[in-house]
Symmetry: C2
Subunit: 674 residues, 2 copies
């Protein structure tokens, strides 16, 4: 099996720097595109033109370069042979799994010692992207004096050791750097995944992994497993709805309740096992249990550099004190931020949501209801946007250990916002008014309208955006052609089409999250909806199952057709979302108990003395505290962790080279003896 990107090396060498060949474009393996403005006039001869210099530097790095002239922009497409990537990986200190099973820093000379991807490539897409990024942004002026570059009429002074691309980006000459779709694989995935309707829940997870990277593949694996598992309660819920159980009707709902809670607990635990198995298959050395500490090693090595100077402490109590003070101060700050979010949710959002629910309850006329809902939907748009931005701002001021922690923190905060928004109205109908008719109405409305409509919007908005941008680009070109009328080709090259597509980004804060955030938020909200009100409306599970089956296809199409190829991330689990699912299960236990109470106690005959109620509330609060406290204060003090981590990074520099030689030496010997 030969990896595609390795195959281009030869082809690339042949048509180095040639013009775009449209027939061959589809099979090309260019992976990254750099967008620069199209220059009019003949500047190709000017050796100091910044774009020419850039292309030259790309060639020097070892990229295979292809330049495509678009309507407004010029696209410099890049692909690197395996060796160039390998050397970049070694510079980045990327750790890879070796054939003996442990992770070792990559060395190109000992590439034999490392395990290849299931698709035959040496690097996963995520690793490749990191290498490209490193190579592209690593181009600096190596001469001792500055170089004067020209772009159109401006002169640019490229100082020694200054990264060229950052400079050009800051000057607006390089518009964007984005990863390119691989047409062959993309079409294969469309056929085998997005448009494969035969098996409802089948997904080629390994192919998704090798095309989109770990984070997106994990999301789809989760969505697929959730969809398969939800079929069981869906069947159960439909049975409950349509079958009359006669005398035992009263017992049916509690049994259903217990069953779905067991189902949910089993699901969340078996998902962790499936996740662990997936990671083993993908050759990721990674224990799900301690993913936080491992993660630090995995991706955020840069953040560790700051710790490293503290390496040669032996038993300095002062350093320990500094760490402890920092730890507690950081914790206090995070707690304060959480408190701000929670109070603002309670003081601002809760009254608003309750007002809407109350108005919806008392208004009789359907038209008024419709108008009210429209106004409501309009307002919450801004509400959530504002809340999300506030969360992002607060988090940016927190001192989180790494980006993963920041992302988790954002997940919790934004979910809190959406939790209030999605469920408080339902709680209002269920608990305060005990109005189960409206409750069911609201549930159906949310499930159908919100979910299905959201899906439609989610898919149509990117398409419309794309159409609009394409239309505008063509119009702009027409205008220009009237003036200059040099080119006449009407076709739009593939790379330009991709450039016009929107990217896969989160609605809240692009800095911290990508589109997986929105998709997982949707799944989590749906899960909460069907679980927390299971007893009020058992067929909700069937809606959810149907919705998820379409969701898989819709999301797949969105990623493959509507959007640019997303930037790959190396997230090995769904992270904080799993904790949210766990939290929703606990909430579901409590809310369903209350629902059952309301359902069986229509006449209000059941009593609970206020003292007893107080004691019960106290009990629940204490239980929550008991199970939540370990999340606030970690088991390992920061200074212990920092010491462990600095040890771990220190050793990498020493042992990996030697170890590698011995591994690849061993392998070579084995091959000889075979």
């Amino acid at each position: 099996m030969v990896h595609s990107s390795a195959g281009f090396e030869m082809k690339g060498n042949n048509n180095d720097n040639d013009n775009d060949n449209n027939l061959e474009e589809e099979q090309s393996g260019f992976e990254i595109s750099v967008v620069v403005p199209k220059r009019f006039g003949r500047l190709g001869d000017d050796k100091n033109d910044c774009v020419e210099v850039l292309v030259n530097e790309f060639n020097n790095v070892g990229f295979v370069v292809d330049r495509v002239l678009g309507m407004q922009y010029e696209f410099i497409k890049l692909v690197a042979p395996e060796e160039v990537l390998g050397r970049a990986a070694a510079e980045l200190l990327i750790k890879k799994k070796t054939k003996i099973g442990v992770d070792v820093q990559f060395e190109w000379e000992e590439a034999e010692a490392f395990v290849r991807q299931p698709d035959g490539a040496l690097f996963s897409w995520c690793e490749r992207f990191r290498c490209y990024h490193h190579l592209i942004y690593g181009i600096v002026n190596k001469s001792e004096s500055g170089i004067v570059l020209r772009s159109e009429s401006i002169e640019i002074f490229w100082e020694p050791m200054e990264p060229l691309l950052r400079k050009l980006e800051s000057l607006g000459i390089v518009k964007e750097v984005f990863p390119l779709h691989d047409e062959v694989k993309r079409k294969q995935l469309i056929k085998r995944w997005a448009l494969n309707w035969r098996d409802f829940t089948y997904q080629p997870i390994d192919e998704i992994y090798s095309y989109f990277g770990m984070k997106i593949a994990t999301y789809f694996a989760f969505l697929g497993m959730y969809t398969r598992w939800v079929l069981f309660p869906a069947a159960l819920g439909l049975t409950l709805q349509f079958v009359d159980f006669g005398a035992s009707q009263l017992l049916v709902l509690p049994v259903f309740f217990v069953t779905i809670i067991l189902w949910a607990v089993l699901f969340s635990q078996f998902w962790k096992r499936k996740n662990a198995a997936m990671l083993a298959r993908w050759q990721v050395n990674y224990s799900v249990r301690d993913y936080r500490s491992k993660f630090l090693e995995m991706e955020q090595q840069s953040s560790l550099q700051s710790v490293e100077y503290k390496n040669n402490w032996t038993d300095k109590p002062k350093e320990k004190e500094v760490f402890q003070r920092e730890e507690w101060f950081g914790r206090f700050k995070r707690l304060r931020n959480d408190a701000i979010i929670i109070t603002s949710i309670i003081c601002l959002q809760l009254p608003f949501e309750l007002a809407y629910a109350h108005l919806y309850e008392i208004i009789e006329s359907d038209i008024m209801k419709f108008l009210l809902t429209a106004a409501y939907l309009f307002i919450i748009q801004y509400f959530t946007k504002f809340g999300g931005k506030m969360s992002v701002k607060l988090i940016m001021h927190e001192k989180n250990e790494n980006r993963e922690h920041q992302a988790d923190s954002l997940v919790y905060k934004v979910f809190g916002l959406y939790f209030m928004q999605s469920y408080i109205g339902i709680f209002y109908h269920a608990l305060l008014h005990r109005n189960f008719v409206t409750l069911r109405q609201v549930l159906i409305q949310r499930l159908i309208v919100s979910e299905v409509l959201a899906n439609l919007i989610e898919n149509s908005v990117p398409y419309l955006k794309y159409r609009y941008r394409k239309h505008r680009a063509i119009r702009n070109r027409r205008k220009r052609e009237k003036g200059s009328s040099t080119e006449k080709s009407q076709f739009i090259s593939r790379v330009e089409k991709e450039y016009l597509k929107p990217s896969y980004s989160a609605s809240v804060g692009e800095e911290l999250e990508d589109g997986v955030f929105d998709d997982l938020l949707e799944v989590a909200l749906q899960f909460g909806m069907i679980m927390m009100f299971a007893c009020a409306f058992p067929p909700a599970f069937a809606f959810a199952a149907l919705n998820n089956i379409t969701e898989i296809r819709a999301d797949a199409l969105k990623l493959l057709v509507m959007l640019r190829r997303p930037i790959p991330h190396a997230a090995a689990t769904i992270g904080a979302w799993l904790n949210i699912f766990q939290f929703l299960i606990v909430m579901a236990i409590c809310t369903n108990c209350v629902l059952l109470m309301c359902l069986y106690d229509r006449e209000g005959e059941w009593h609970i003395s206020p003292g007893l109620a107080a004691i019960l509330i106290m009990e629940h609060v204490l239980l929550i505290f008991k199970f939540g406290f370990s999340r606030i204060v970690p088991e390992e003090p920061d200074w212990v962790k920092a010491r462990r981590m600095s040890d771990a990074t220190h050793v990498q520099h020493i042992y990996s080279k030697q170890l590698l030689k011995s591994i690849s030496g061993e392998k070579k010997q084995e091959q000889k003896s075979e």
Copy 2:
């Protein structure tokens, strides 16, 4: 700082094989003693006498040997120079922390690279003991033919490659091998720890660690922290008892309840942090979070050998299936065993305990009550012994991953037994009869009688045992002296005194646990008692605090004076006991709520509809399931774990040597440049 055992090398060479020098005995550093029967008649000349051969072999290994003639036995005392231990450690593949922070397999040649203990020794006592064990039991017949040995009149055929000590043990010639106290350190510890009454809770944990090993030091650190922390609720409880709060009296108990639950949660979390900090200080590379997986690597390397043959799997689904089948079968077996224990506790123990509690409730006469209690105490002795043995037997048939898992399993099962025994009577008084007077009586009785008496017995029984064995030994010698009358020295050598002392072993199953089990069981039962019935009897915390302050000293004296030096174990945490403490906190939340309910509802005015009660019970059961399920099914499938583990062991063989050389080379260079 020079470690004591290193200092003997020279001294040992001078008086190699000399007779016991009583003045110098105290300062000797002999660490292990082998007990062989005293031979009468002059056999010292016989070169084939098995004891002489054994001593010769010890000398060949490199031990410094000292022979002491006791009354009935001869004691061969051994100490090894650091180099001999180091070579044994290398053979044992012991992993040690290096100066760059990572754990690497020990090599004597590169000893410079490894971190020394805080007391200056290269090896901790636990590692030393493992090395001694390895050296002593590693003596084999290296010649190609068998050797005929003689002992008194029997002839022993020592076959090639047969371990000598095992053979002699099986023939009853070597009675025992036990570690010796270090008189200097022991006296220091008695002064600074056991008899240090000035500071109530101060303990020289690091000295305890270097003298007794990690497990015992961890226990005492836990006990010390617990004692310090319990002073706060003790003060609170006493305040509640003696201060009249007037109008707010009704609010006092709930506030107390909430406070102690918060206290307990904080305590258990901060204990984990303290534990992590302790391990960092002791140079143990160990993440508290994933201690199970790390532990496998740490001590149970032997058990991994069985996994290793599966090393070169790449993606064989069959191996995976085998593993999965084994995993689920093992889990089923363990569940079945748990079910057996639980049902037998419920069907056998529960009725018995309830019968006793009921009889105690209805009997009026105090004498009858006393007799009943005596009979009860007599019977439960056998009950718990039988239960413990049954648990051990069941566990032995389980297929646990390692000894640590087995020990945990035993802890849970035996604690279940004692939980029933200790608390069910109290529950009976508290809940069924709502008889708070008897409840308090029973609590005081348990706390004073059980705890204080248990402490007395715990300490006096070993002493009485020792006195009895000493007495018997002297009597035996007198008898013999009448016959032969060769020796007349009346004194008993120190090593013989130690031999006569009992060892530090658990009352249940010596195979799996040592005495720390009993001590932690006691602490856990006390914790349960004071937490679960906190609202019924707040001053219980003061009793507990007092008891713990004496307990620390009593346990210290027991270990230092009453018992032989215990065999050290490398347990970095208190393991399953921490889970039991967590469980007891959750139980305490529930029981105290019920107690408060009973206390405030003396007139039985509070009602709860049966339907509501059913729903509440269902809720609690589901919550327990939710939080307990992850303990039954782990997050990582066995095959993934096994693969990770086999990878980890494989790499040890390859990299450690090279890494070591580079570290010690680096250090040497650094020293030169300094």
